[in-house]
Amino acid sequence: MRRINVLCVDDDAVSLNKMTAIMEELGDCQQSGTGKEAVAAFFKWMEAGHVFDLVTLDISLPDMEGIDVLRILRKIETDKGIAADKRAKIIMVTSHADKGRVLASLKAGCNDYIVKPFDVNILIEKIEKFGF
């Protein structure tokens, strides 16, 4: 697996650092604590001509729901005319695994889903499945 660019989004500092710690094993990681920051970081990165390979997105953030951030990110990608296979892989991170939420997020365009507290290995498996 090549080194990937990751955007980690979580409002809890501890979770964020944890995720970052994991992601730094896989590549380069940027952190965002709010939805707005995440969108801004994502957009800026795209403007600079790069792409995020992976986004880990907490399902609830202080300023907006994760699922809304998800929609915005996808919209940005659509506006920029990014091909489906080149889009960022977005994993929603949540503490509940109810059917409703899972379906909603998938419908909104996320690629996968992981429930806290999660096993690191499972997360890594999911990421490897993306075939970077």
């Binding site: 501890v14 944890k18 806290k116 507290p117």
Partner: protein, 1003 residues
């Protein structure tokens, strides 16, 4: 003080007002009372003065008259009138002389008809002769008043206004010197009222006055008329100036017409004097009042200030004293707190140390046991046995110390459970008595037949005391007898006072040591420790316990003769009606169990397990003893209820024993359980052949044993061993309990779910999971359960609600099926506040367990309600298998750094940084939550707790996470009472975590 000064000011102002009023009053007095009288006086005096003026003037007239009389009553004048001789005139009427000497200005001799014989007016001031119209011949006629006289003595005197000024005239008839008539004419004499005369008059009467022609005065016509009307001498007009007054008076002339205005100027001395008097008086009064007032004010002020000073002083004193008192109290509090904390520290230390000591010891014992079990070498096994025995002794000593410290610090609470004294004493007889007899001593326990023995109390502690005393007796007695006696009676309050006596024929205790025998760590002799061993705590503990039980302990002894220990205790009679002992308990209490095992340790283990359940045990280490115990009739009238035997008993096996017992009618039905360290093939079959109904391979944990015994006795009673396949084994037990044991665990917090499930599974129970009350009710509706563990605070539907619904379902089912049983529901709550038990019961629950709970507590509660083992878990700590570390176990660390490090991919720095931030943020969050608790702001609490929970869980700080979860749940339910309690826990855990991190940081 401010208020007081205002009052003073008020009084001062009032005083001033009074003084002003007084002044005004004085002034009024002066002007309207005193002075008017002065005025009247003044007026009167003034009038009098004027009168004097008028009188003076009139006197002039009289004076003139006298003079005129001299002339008129004179022969010479008489003759003159007849002859009109010149000589008369020349000699008498020389004006210079005449005027000078008499001041007369006018002499007229007239006939009775008014004919002027001779008449002249002379005034030197007017330069000689003066012509007066008023006395011209034309004027003077017979009808003129001056001429007309009625008699020879008539006199007319008065003022005559002339063009030359006012004139005082006098006229009378001229007569002979002897005064006889007839009159020969009229003599008129006059004098000008000139300034000189008036001045003289004024000087004479001391009054300044002027005289003027009335007509020439300034009076108006009306005033004149008034004056005229008032007649001669009327004084009516007074003009007042400040220092003098002007008084006016009118004088008529001789014809009776107002002629002259007399104006007198009178100085107003009186008034002046009066005023000055008045002023002086007022002034002096004023001064007096002022001085008096000032004096009073001064004294008042002095008094007030004095009072104030005193008050201030007293207040200051009070404050000082109060402060002193406060300080003293604070000091006392501090000292108390220190003492308490010292005490607590001591207790904690002891508890900790004992725990620290016992844990490895238990390890040693456990390991030794295992080693012993797996060793086939006899020698080795003996050695291991010794190791275990020594470890056991050490353990007992440590237990003693801990026990003593607990009892001393008042941490021990006596049980009040029903037990049979007779049974307990028999038990003691069996165990200790055996040992004593083994030692060659005689041993007996004497219980009077009428002694009430079904009692309520703490049998464990009582036995402890007995065993201690008897043990001591045995230790110090080498020959002779040990006898234990008990006596007592019940009183009307259902209390029984028991008197125990342990008497031995041992070495005795010297007299001087008798007093200190009950002291800590003392023994009769220093050498005793060497010879006899022991900690010296035994008797001390006995005393503490006896006294705790409300009794007294004493000792009597004589060296080399023996010792008697006596103690009393007060217990209660059992209340037969209310003592509903669940059927489950009866299985054990009073059960007589024979344990056959060569290995003392094994025996002791089983013995302990069983004794904890209230069974009476006896043991045998070899075959012969076993058989004799079984066959020889002994004190208890009942034979054994159960035999637990090792597979090997000396040279023979348990199978042999079973076979032999079958020969006896009264023994063959006794259920036998066989324990073995090594399972052999075919044992099962063998068991069934010989009638051994239970076969267990070691290690046998307490639960296994209990389950086995339960099942065994159950089947034996019902005689349906077929239901368990003819032989009870571990497998059977597991299966039986798995089949029957269905527990529904209702818990929303994932970590808790895992933990509890693990505990229950480990104990062999099968567990279903429900995440909230709703799911629980649905699950219950689908399947039945033997037990439900219900978390109380959950989303969707909480524990109470779910319980109610389940009970409703149950009653519906029960209506149809009378045999359906009530499912026990145990509440799992974070805190038991007062009355919580009641709340749970009212909701339909059966019991509750408080979180966080230990595995043992949980299993004991479950067992209790599953109808398998009566719970009595407190004494079992030593026999518990070592617990696997599970993530939410209380004895685990606040945080597993190694684990966290792994989760952070080995990035130590990042982990530490994250930890630091978390703790910092946590401290701030604690503040926020505290404030929110005060404000009653539940949403904030929930939010913060939720955040912390996530972070903590991520950092493997599961204990903290769980506390945060409880706090979050309490806040979500709006239950601020629980939230406060949960917050306390949370803070403790947070502190623990901080300390832990700090400790780790150092290492």
């Amino acid at each position: 003080m401010l208020v007081k000064s205002n009052k003073n000011l008020k009084w001062f102002l009032i005083g001033m007002l009074i003084m002003v009023l007084c002044g005004a009053g004085l002034y009024a007095l002066q002007n309207w009372v005193i002075l008017p009288s002065f005025v009247e006086l003044e007026d009167e005096l003034a009038r009098k003065d004027l009168q004097r003026c008028l009188d003076a003037i009139r006197r002039e007239g009289h004076h003139l008259g006298k003079l005129a009389g001299d002339w008129a009553i004179w022969d010479d004048s008489y003759r003159f009138m007849e002859d009109r001789n010149q000589e008369f005139i020349d000699s008498n009427l020389q004006w210079e002389t005449l005027e000078k000497s008499t001041g007369v200005n006018l002499v007229y001799f007239c006939t009775s008809q008014g004919e002027i014989v001779w008449g002249e007016v002379y005034d030197s001031e007017q330069d000689g002769q003066v012509r007066l119209e008023e006395l011209s011949p034309a004027f003077l006629n017979s009808s003129n008043y001056l001429i007309r006289h009625d008699s020879i003595n008539s006199e007319h005197v008065g003022i005559l206004l002339t063009s030359q000024g006012p004139l005082m005239v006098f006229s009378r008839p001229i007569v002979k010197s002897n005064g006889t008539g007839p009159s020969n004419g009229v003599f008129i004499m006059g004098r000008f009222l000139n300034r000189k005369i008036l001045q003289t008059l004024a000087e004479q009467i001391h009054v300044r006055f002027t005289v003027q022609d009335l007509k020439q005065s300034a009076f108006s016509r009306d005033e004149l008329e008034l004056l005229t009307r008032l007649g001669d001498g009327a004084v009516t007009v007074i003009e007042k100036k400040d220092t003098f007054m002007t008084v006016f008076g009118a004088m008529q002339d001789i014809y009776g017409k107002p002629a002259l205005l007399v104006t007198a100027h009178v100085p107003r001395d009186i008034m002046a004097r009066g005023i000055s008097m008045g002023r002086l008086a007022s002034f002096s009064v004023l001064i007096t009042i002022t001085s008096v007032g000032l004096l009073l004010a001064f004294f008042l002020a002095d008094y007030v200030f004095g009072m104030r000073r005193k008050t201030a002083y007293i207040e200051a004193l009070i404050e000082e004293r109060t402060l002193e008192l406060k300080n003293a109290m604070a000091e006392a509090d501090r000292i108390r707190a220190k003492a308490e904390s010292a005490n607590k520290a001591k207790s904690d230390f002891l508890a900790n140390m004992s725990h620290e000591l016992r844990t490895p010891l238990n390890g040693i014992i456990g390991m030794a046991e295992i080693a012993g079990n797996y060793s086939t070498d006899e020698e080795q096994r003996k050695l291991i046995g010794l190791i275990t025995a020594e470890a056991g002794s050490l353990l007992r000593i440590i237990n003693d110390i801990l026990d003593l410290s607990k009892v001393e610090s008042g941490k021990v609470e006596l049980e009040e459970i029903p037990f049979d004294l007779r049974t307990m004493l028999h038990d003691v007889d069996m165990s200790l008595g055996k040992q004593a007899r083994h030692k060659g001593l005689a041993f007996d326990i004497n219980i009077p037949a009428d002694l009430p023995t079904r009692l309520k109390g703490d049998p464990g502690r009582l036995r402890q005391v007995l065993i201690n005393l008897i043990g001591n007796a045995m230790k110090f007695t080498h020959k002779g007898r040990i006898s234990v006696t008990v006596a007592g009676t019940a009183d009307e309050h259902k209390r029984v006072q028991l008197k125990f006596q342990v008497k031995d024929t041992g070495v005795g205790i010297p007299r001087d040591k008798l007093e200190i025998i009950f002291n800590r760590f003392t023994q009769a002799d220093e050498s005793t420790t060497r010879k006899y061993g022991g900690t010296g705590l035994g008797t001390t503990i006995c005393r503490e316990i006896v006294e705790l039980m409300g009794g007294r302990i004493s000792v009597e002894s004589e060296v080399n003769k023996g010792t008697i220990f006596r103690f009393t205790t007060v217990l209660l009679l059992q209340d037969p009606a209310t003592e509903v002992v669940p059927a489950v308990e009866e299985i054990y209490s009073g059960m007589e169990i024979l344990i056959i095992d060569e290995n003392a340790v094994n025996r002791n283990i089983i013995d302990e397990y069983l004794k904890n359940k209230g069974c009476r045990t006896a043991w045998a280490a070899d075959y012969r003893t076993a058989v004799s115990l079984l066959t020889v009739p002994s004190a208890p009238p009942r034979p054994f209820d159960l035999i637990i035997t090792d597979r090997r008993i000396g040279d023979v096996t348990g199978f042999d024993l079973a076979l032999e017992l079958r020969a006896f009618d009264d023994l063959r039905h006794i259920p036998i359980a066989m324990l073995t360290s090594v399972g052999n093939l075919g044992d099962g079959k063998r068991c069934k052949e010989v009638g051994i109904r239970c076969y267990l391979t070691r290690p046998v944990g307490p639960d296994d044993l209990y389950n086995a015994v339960q099942l065994l006795m159950d089947c034996a009673r019902k005689d349906n061993f077929d239901s368990v396949g003819g032989l009870i084994t571990k497998h059977t037990i597991a299966e039986t309990f798995r089949k029957k044991a269905q527990i529904l665990l209702v818990e929303d917090y994932p970590v808790n779910q895992q933990v509890v499930k693990m505990h229950l599974n480990g104990a062999g129970y099968q567990v279903d999971l429900a995440e909230n009350g709703r799911q629980a009710v649905e699950a219950f509706a689908k399947d039945g359960y033997d037990l439900i563990l219900m978390d109380v605070q959950m989303p969707v539907l909480d524990g109470f609600g779910a319980t109610r619904e389940i009970r409703i379902l149950e009653s519906a089912v029960q209506a149809q099926d009378k045999h359906s049983k009530r499912t026990p529901i145990i509440a799992m709550t974070a805190h038991a506040v007062k009355g919580y038990h009641q709340t749970c019961l009212e909701a339909g629950m059966d019991d509750y367990i408080t979180k966080p709970f230990k595995r043992a507590e949980l299993l004991a509660m479950v067992a209790k309600w599953m109808g398998l083992h009566p719970s009595n878990g407190k004494r079992n700590s030593a026999a518990e298998a070592p617990q696997a570390a599970d993530p939410a176990d209380l004895s685990a660390e606040p945080m597993d750094l190694a684990c966290a490090l792994k989760e952070f991919m080995g990035k130590r720095d990042l982990l530490l940084k994250t930890l630091r931030h978390f703790l910092e943020a946590g401290r701030a969050q604690i503040e926020t939550i505290q404030k929110a608790l005060v404000d009653g702001n539940a949403p904030v609490i929930r939010q913060e707790a939720h955040k912390i929970k996530g972070g903590a869980a991520n950092l493997t700080a599961h204990r903290l996470a769980r506390c945060a979860h409880e706090l979050e749940k309490a806040a979500a339910a709006g239950d601020l009472g629980h939230a406060v309690a949960a917050m306390d826990d949370f803070k403790l855990e947070f502190k623990a975590l901080e300390d832990h991190i700090a400790g780790e940081g150092r290492s």
